[in-house]
Every structure is written in structure tokens, then in C-alpha cells.
């Protein structure tokens, strides 16, 4: 039985467990029907031309973990931003871990989607926001059909959340292969500020396939800083579909740090509905072996006087494959726009591949859109400069790679996170740079 067949047939059993009057019952039924018709995306789909899920889909995934797993905090401490105080929403094999989490209802809601879906007091929020910005794409439909758990974050207006919120999905390897479908909903009220860090972490070499969907709503003047850390085991694959709906004067940034995993696909979609929105998309990808990272971004400019800034850096070693497919869509009404897209790549090996495809579709006539894409090796002149100062070739290359990726790090607003990413990069490049980063 193929994974698709397995999913479709188990949907009925899954539905049976849920209350029929769930506010999202109808959405689920529609979504599974649509998934049944369309199936998983293949390379024949233009948007999936360079990324194949074939191998990932061949595993015999468990759809629900057969047993509850526990983790000791000390064993997984390193995956948290443990040196600062944070809210935490932690899942182990898709099941909420109250032991590792630190949620709140005190002036804001940082809790579980399952709670929000089942309790009456959240019903208005669910009805107003759930699945409202997510698009009916195949894998998103699949997630919607099975959506029952994930992070639920609601920040009321004028609230500045004083500590970052961490969402961590662990998989333990208690199943030979596990499919996870977390569903996150983040609603940031007018003039509210929030910082979120999201991570998926497999703790074994068993196969994991995570099909994650996150919806973020930024109301007027809201400020959202979202960080994705993708440094997973070589047996873990991820499709992350994130949809961000921005109202006027809101500023939203998403930083994606892709340092490991099997196949990683990021679908990052911004929709600017009001004037003076700013969307910031930044990424650093450093991969090797046969790893595959695909950034598929969309910034949809609907209103005038807005800005968007995209800056993605990639370093590809061994036989790794990178994809950057960045689309900027400018509606006729979106005048006086300033859209910037930059994608720079270094191929550190002859076998590494990068497929870069910037797409600009502009229907307004008074806009400034720029894009630049480079693919190259390390600058020989710079390398010679460092080596002439006695720095050996390997360290000199590392220093240059660090410098190459560095400006994306500049905009990370949480100092401890910046330090952590710096360290990850140094480890990733495989050298001690001789000074603390």
C-alpha cells in the first residue's frame, strides 16, 4: 500500500476519534478529498521541479506513535535556548510533553492547538484564523486533514512578549519510521511583538518525515520575528509550509537556518494586505553529503507602499543539492513598492548542485524591484590574502565561508540565538576559528 493510500484509508479511523462538531470538521473533510485527488507533489509540478519526495515517501511510516515517549531534559537541553528564559511548547513524537514545556495563559496564550480546537473560548479565534491564509496545496491539505496538534500562540493587541517562544518537535526513533504533521497557529494582535524559534529534531537514525504547516497572522503594526533552525539528522526529512498574512504597518521576518537533514523543503509565503508592510526573508544554508535543501519563497504584494527583503546565502559541499525558487508577485495596486531579492551561493565541491530560479511577476508600473543571484567558488584573491597571513587553506576557507554567511546573521535579534547559530556554523564548517564567535 502506498503512503497516499495508507493516509486516505486511515483518515476515516482518525476522524472517528474526533468530535464531529469540531470547528474544523468541514475543512478536514474537504482537505482529505483534495489530497486524495491530487496526491503528493511530483517533479512534474513546476514548483517541485528540482525536489523529489519519491525516496522519502517510500518508507513505511507510522501515522501515530504506538507508545508515549519521555525525554530527560538534560539529554535534550542543548536543543533549547537554555541560557535564557523562554516559553516552550514541546512535542515528543507528535505528542505534547507537559514536562518539557512551559506554556502560559497569563496575558497571552502560548499553548496547544489541540486545546484551542476543543475548548469553546478559543472558537472565535479558530473560526477567524484557522486555515485562512494556508493555501490548498497538496501537502498543506494533507496536514489540514490530520491537523490536531501543534503550537497555538495568541498575542493580544499592544502586548510585547518579553521572552522568546520555542516550538520544538522531537522524534525519538521509537517507531521504525514516523510521519509527523504539526500544525501551528500564531496570531499577533495589533501593535504586539513576538519572537518565535522553531525546531524539528530527530534523536535517532530512524526515518522521520515531518509535514509541518504554520499560519501566522500579523495584525496592524504587529512585529513578528520568526526563526527556523533546521539542523536535523540525515534520516529526517521536512516539508515546512509557512503562510504569513500581514496587515498594514506590520513587520515580519523569517530567518531559516538549514544545516542538516535529508530532504528539506521550505515553502515560505508572505501576503501583504495593507500599506507599509515590511517582509524580511533570510536564510543560511550550509549542507554536505547528499543533503537537499529547497527554499521556495513567495512574497505577494497586494497593497501599495510596501517593502520586502530577501537574502539567502548557501554553501554546498560534496554532492549536496540546493534549490532557491524565489517569487515576487506584485499586483497592479501595489505601487511604490521596494522589493529586494538576493541569493548568493558557493559551490564548495565539483559535485554539488544549486538550482536558482528568481521569478518576478510585476503588474504595477511604479515599483522598485531588484534581484541578484550569484553562484561561484570562494574568492581566490581573498583566500590568498588570508593564506599570506599564515592562515592555512582549510581555516582560510572556513573564515571566508563564515564571512560570506555573516551578514544574514546580523539581523538576528536574540543575542543568545545569534551566538548559538554562530557556533553551529563554526562546527558545521568543521574548524576552530581560533576565537570565540
Amino acid at each position: 500500500m502506498s503512503l497516499k493510500e495508507k493516509l486516505v484509508s486511515s483518515y476515516l479511523a482518525f476522524e472517528d476519534h474526533l468530535e464531529a462538531d469540531s470547528p474544523i470538521h468541514d475543512l478536514r473533510s474537504e482537505a482529505i478529498k483534495s489530497f486524495e485527488t491530487n496526491g503528493f507533489p511530483t517533479k512534474k509540478d513546476e514548483a517541485w521541479k528540482y525536489t523529489s519526495l519519491n525516496k522519502v515517501l517510500k518508507e513505511d511510516y507510522s501515522l501515530l506513535p504506538s507508545m508515549e515517549s519521555k525525554l530527560d531534559f538534560n539529554d535534550v537541553k542543548k536543543y533549547f535556548l537554555h541560557d535564557v528564559d523562554t516559553y516552550k511548547i514541546v512535542f515528543i513524537d507528535g505528542v505534547y510533553s507537559s514536562f518539557l514545556s512551559e506554556t502560559t495563559h497569563d496575558g497571552l496564550d502560548v499553548c496547544l492547538l489541540s486545546a484551542a480546537l476543543s475548548k469553546d473560548k478559543y472558537k472565535p479565534v479558530i473560526e477567524a484564523y484557522f486555515n485562512k491564509v494556508a493555501k490548498a496545496e497538496s501537502l498543506t491539505n494533507l496536514n489540514t486533514a490530520f491537523a490536531k496538534e501543534g503550537a497555538y500562540i495568541y498575542i493580544p493587541k499592544h502586548k510585547e512578549v518579553e521572552k522568546p517562544i520555542e516550538i520544538i518537535n522531537f522524534s525519538t526513533g521509537n517507531e521504525a519510521a514516523l510521519l509527523l504533521q504539526p500544525r501551528n497557529l500564531v496570531v499577533v494582535g495589533e501593535n504586539a511583538h513576538v519572537q518565535v524559534i522553531e525546531r524539528h529534531q530527530s534523536l535517532s537514525s530512524n526515518a522521520v518525515f515531518t509535514n509541518s504547516v504554520t499560519e501566522i497572522f500579523a495584525e496592524k503594526r504587529a512585529y513578528v520575528d520568526y526563526y527556523k533552525i533546521q539542523n536535523d539528522a540525515p534520516s529526517a526529512s521536512l516539508v515546512d509550509s509557512t503562510y504569513i498574512d500581514q496587515e498594514r504597518d506590520s513587520i515580519c521576518s523569517v530567518h531559516t537556518f538549514s544545516f542538516g537533514g535529508n530532504v528539506t523543503r521550505n515553502n515560505l509565503n508572505f501576503y501583504q494586505n495593507g500599506e507599509h508592510c515590511d517582509s524580511i526573508l533570510k536564510g543560511i544554508t550550509i549542507i554536505e553529503d547528499k543533503q537537499h535543501v529547497d527554499h521556495n519563497t513567495l512574497v505577494h504584494h497586494i497593497a501599495p507602499n510596501c517593502e520586502s527583503h530577501q537574502d539567502y546565502k548557501g554553501i554546498f559541499d560534496d554532492s549536496s543539492v540546493g534549490v532557491f525558487n524565489g517569487k515576487v508577485y506584485v499586483e497592479k495596486e501595489a505601487q511604490k513598492l521596494d522589493a529586494f531579492q538576493q541569493n548568493n551561493n558557493i559551490l564548495a565541491s565539483e559535485k554539488a548542485t544549486i538550482n536558482a530560479k528568481p521569478q518576478l511577476e510585476i503588474f504595477a508600473d511604479d515599483v522598485r524591484c531588484s534581484h541578484g543571484c550569484t553562484i561561484g567558488q570562494l574568492d581566490e584573491e581573498a583566500l590568498f590574502y588570508l593564506r599570506s597571513r599564515g592562515i592555512p587553506q582549510k581555516e582560510a576557507k572556513a573564515l571566508l565561508m563564515y564571512a560570506f554567511a555573516n551578514n544574514v546573521l546580523e539581523s538576528v535579534k536574540i543575542p543568545e540565538l545569534k551566538k548559538r547559530i554562530n557556533k553551529l556554523i563554526a562546527t558545521k564548517i568543521g574548524v576552530n576559528l581560533g576565537f570565540s564567535l
Binding site: 574568492d379 593564506r387 597571513r389 599564515g390 592555512p392 563564515y402 551578514n407 581560533g434 576565537f435
Partner: protein, 249 residues
């Protein structure tokens, strides 16, 4: 110290150096002058080990050891330093962190321990003062957004920190105003001892008023066509290079 015999070098099969002979002894200052495209910067890069250039004939020895097959970092470890005409910008790496890495990598290569942090700081302070470099400057990203003069001063600061046996200054005077030129020249002179040597590559005699050479060589079309003392530099300043061309014919 440095002995260059019948050196030929090419890039992309184009001959640039066509038989250079040069001997530099400890305690000496040599100036290499010549018109644009004569091969001055190539000579500097070949001594420092840039692998873009292929040595097709001849040899380069340092302390009687052939260094022409060595990597640039190995030459640096043996005391060769090149002050770049166009120093490269390295965002995200501060001047201080860069020089620490450079010094400690060189020490590691010589089997020495890392320099203790306190000693490193003391030296950084001392050398920054020597070149009248503002402390704030040291925590900026290497060469990023530096003015031409700041870049050159920073090159000599690195030289001061690394204490090379043989320093090659490739057009260190270009882009410098007279005050910066004096500071840089003063720095170089203070670092001069009887055991080290300096090769100054320049277009203009101006720098040689401050860093006084023992020998002046004229490089033309990949060859040293004339050598003399510092008076030769004045003559070149006054008369240009044409008279040498004529002499050669």
C-alpha cells in the same frame, strides 16, 4: 636572505616575469620602481606564493631554502609578509580576531603554543599606538568600509604584529595623503632592524623620502633593467622612464 635567480613566471601562458635576478640581505631596504604593467605586483605575488602564477624557470630562495613550491601560508610562517595593494574585505571578522588567528596559526605551524591573551592584547595596543590607530577601529570588520588610507595603515599594523623577516610593500603609498604616508613610513622605519629586510614597490619617489632605500631597481617588461642607489629614484621622478628605454635600445 632572499635570492631570486633568473625568475620567469606566467599567468594563463602569458609571460610576465622574464628573468629576474635580485638579492636582498638582512638589514636592507630595496625599492622596485617601474611603469604600469611592468610586473611589479606580479613579482610581489610570486614571492608571496600566489598560485595563479606559474614559475616557468628560475628559483626563489629564502635563507638558502627554495620556497617556490611552498604554499603562501608556509612562506608566511617562514617570515614572508606581503602588504597588499588592494586589501580584501572580510565582513564579520574583526581586525583583532583576524590578527589573533593569523598569529596563532603561524605559531602553531612553528610548534609554539598560542600567544597568551594578555600578551596579545599588550602587543595589539602597542602596535596600534605606533600606527596611530584608534582602538575602535580594531573591533571593526576587517577592511570593510575602510578608506584607502585605513586599509594601508591596517596592512602595516598586521606587519607590525607579525614581525616578518621579509616585508614586501606593494604600492602601500597609493591612496595615502601625506599625513597617513608619514605615519605608515614611520611605522615601517621603527620596525626595521638589522635582521629583517623590506622591499618597497612604488610608482613614486615620494614614499622613498620617508622610507629610504639602500637600493633602487627599475623593472620594465618583466626584467630588472637598471639598479642603483636612492639617487636613481630622484632621477626617475625627474625624467620618467623613457630615458631608460632609450638606454636599453
Amino acid at each position: 636572505m632572499l635570492q631570486i635567480n633568473n625568475l620567469h613566471a606566467s599567468v594563463d601562458e602569458k609571460d610576465i616575469l622574464k628573468g629576474i635576478n635580485l638579492e636582498v640581505n638582512p638589514g636592507e631596504v630595496h625599492a622596485i620602481m617601474g611603469p604600469n604593467g611592468s610586473g611589479k605586483s606580479t613579482l610581489a605575488a610570486v614571492i608571496a606564493g600566489k598560485d595563479e602564477f606559474e614559475i616557468t624557470k628560475g628559483e626563489v630562495t629564502l635563507h638558502e631554502e627554495d620556497i617556490s613550491e611552498l604554499d603562501p601560508e608556509e612562506r608566511a610562517h617562514k617570515g614572508v609578509f606581503l602588504s597588499f595593494q588592494y586589501p580584501v574585505e572580510i565582513p564579520g571578522v574583526t581586525v583583532t580576531n583576524f590578527i589573533k588567528t593569523a598569529i596563532n596559526e603561524s605559531r602553531k605551524a612553528q610548534g609554539q603554543k598560542e600567544m597568551p591573551a594578555s600578551e596579545m592584547l599588550k602587543r595589539i595596543k602597542e602596535k596600534a599606538d605606533l600606527l596611530e590607530i584608534d582602538r575602535k577601529f580594531l573591533s571593526r570588520s576587517l577592511n570593510e568600509g575602510f578608506s584607502g588610507g585605513e586599509k594601508k595603515r591596517n596592512e602595516i599594523f598586521q606587519m607590525a604584529m607579525m614581525e616578518p623577516k621579509l616585508a614586501i610593500l606593494d604600492e602601500t603609498d597609493s591612496g595615502l595623503d601625506i599625513d597617513a604616508l608619514k605615519i605608515v613610513a614611520n611605522g615601517v622605519n621603527k620596525l626595521k632592524t638589522k635582521d629583517n629586510a623590506v622591499i618597497v614597490i612604488t610608482h613614486y619617489q615620494r614614499l622613498l623620502d620617508y622610507i629610504v632605500p639602500d637600493f633602487v631597481h627599475v623593472l620594465m617588461n618583466g626584467k630588472i633593467v637598471k639598479s642603483g642607489t636612492k639617487e636613481l629614484a630622484y632621477e626617475l621622478e625627474e625624467k620618467g622612464y623613457d630615458w631608460i628605454k632609450e638606454e636599453l635600445v
